[in-house]
């Protein structure tokens, strides 16, 4: 069992390393993610930056920017394999769950890079003050993991469709709605300076969402991948 897990981990690492190597040579997904994030952030900042915005609106805007930026880039991990025709070689060579975990890790790296840009820019452009930094980053971490978990399996499902971009957002929205509502609530608490204990219900809900989503994805993915 231990040996099998370490073999899986090594193979998933190979998928992640290959995707990162490809990405940093082509900037295929990162360009889309960053351009969308910066454009949206600039538009939001110009349209409402001069008004005094309360913490609930700031938290909502923050997650809306993250959600739509993620939607513009996270689907590409599978779409790229499908469009370039490499998906067949990958299906012949790799265990489905290894591919899923590798792609999940790749999307997580992409989202982390996106957040490295978006969080400071959002704080600077929107004047977002974070009163409880620990709770803010805890919500951001668990929320991002859930966002990546859900969007990776949806990306695999829509990769063969024609209207991929539109379908990805439309399918993702209802699946991600509970996560977004909870993450917005948790972020609002962090902005207002609530204690970590006050944010625990939101963190527990986000963690449960993550576990359910990743478990369901691992069970579902082999069928999506082999169909």
């Amino acid at each position: 069992m231990g040996i099998r897990f370490s073999v899986w981990a090594l193979e998933a690492w190979a998928v992640l390393a290959k995707d990162l190597q490809s990405e940093f040579r082509t900037w295929y997904a990162l360009n889309a993610l960053l351009m969308f994030a910066v454009t949206t952030l600039t538009m939001v900042s110009f349209s409402i930056g001069q008004f005094a915005v309360n913490s609930a609106v700031l938290a909502a805007l923050f997650w809306v920017v993250l959600f739509f930026s993620a939607m513009s880039g996270l689907a590409r991990a599978f779409i790229r394999e499908e469009e370039s025709g490499t998906i067949q070689a990958l299906r012949l060579a790799a265990d489905p769950n290894v591919v899923f975990i590798g792609k999940l890790a790749f999307n997580l790296v992409l989202l982390a890079l996106l957040e490295l840009v978006v969080v400071p820019l959002f704080v600077a452009f929107m004047g977002m003050g974070v009163a409880n930094v620990g709770l803010f980053f805890a919500v951001l971490l668990v929320g991002s993991l859930g966002l990546v978990g859900a969007s990776t399996i949806i990306a695999a499902i829509i990769a063969k469709a024609r209207a991929k971009g539109a379908l990805f957002t439309v399918l993702s929205f209802p699946v991600l709605l509970p996560l977004l509502v909870t993450a917005i609530r948790g972020t609002k608490l962090a902005l207002e300076g609530s204690a970590l204990a006050d944010g625990m219900p939101e963190l527990r809900l986000l963690a449960s969402y993550l576990v359910v989503m990743v478990t369901a994805s691992l069970l579902l993915f082999p069928y999506v991948w082999n169909e």
Binding site: Q88, A89, A93
Partner: protein, 206 residues
């Protein structure tokens, strides 16, 4: 020893019937050529054998000894060269092989990967990006990809596509080695020269 059996195999795409009720059986050391007009389902049959598409009816059964393998297990024993199979253009030939070796869980020495590239005639081009390869070089790299894990069953769809004379000689050598090693070979082709590589011929279509 690996064996392959097609049991009453049927494939339809929506309402269009590609083929129906195919039966065939092969064992190690045997080779089969699939011929037929365009659209008769030659490539589809090879994709079915490799588990890349599901049959509408019937079964593709790959067995080792008495044990039938699942489609995912069977892939460890199959190698495919096909026109619509692509490798990563933004990686070099060597990086492609290194990645596929790792993802298959194989520990292949760097010299062996380079040796494989030499075997298919890509020596000196190891570090060039595949996007910069000619179509013939990409076809050669597909052979290296298919041979990487020393498969017992080699499925070759239009195997001479884009290959020059030297490339065709390499292809003939790969086929001869596969037969000599007691492996199985399934070729989909209409090229009379390639048809001669098969012990049995399965003709599809009208």
């Amino acid at each position: 020893m690996l064996s392959l059996e097609l049991r009453d195999l049927t494939k339809r795409y929506n309402r269009r019937r590609v083929f129906q009720g195919l039966n065939a059986r092969m064992q190690g050391g045997e080779s089969m050529v699939v011929t037929g007009p365009n659209g008769s389902g030659k490539s589809t049959l090879l994709r079915l054998v490799c588990g890349l598409v599901r049959p509408t009816g019937g079964q593709v059964v790959v067995t080792v000894g008495d044990r039938a393998l699942s489609p995912i297990e069977a892939r460890d024993h199959l190698g495919l060269v096909a026109p619509d199979l692509a490798l990563y253009g933004e990686l070099s030939g060597l990086e492609n092989l290194r990645f596929f070796a790792r993802v298959r869980g194989l520990r292949v020495a760097e010299e062996d990967l380079q040796g494989l590239l030499r075997q298919v005639g890509l020596e000196g081009r190891d570090d060039d990006m595949v996007a910069a390869y000619s179509s013939g070089m990409r076809q050669r790299l597909k052979y290296a990809f298919a041979l990487l894990h020393r498969p017992s069953l080699l499925a070759l769809d239009e195997p001479g596509t884009n290959l020059d004379d030297a490339g065709r000689a390499m292809m003939a050598q790969v086929i001869a080695r596969q037969k000599a090693a007691g492996g199985m070979l399934v070729l989909a082709t209409n090229d009379p020269q390639e048809v001669s590589f098969g012990d049995q011929v399965l003709r599809l279509g009208p």
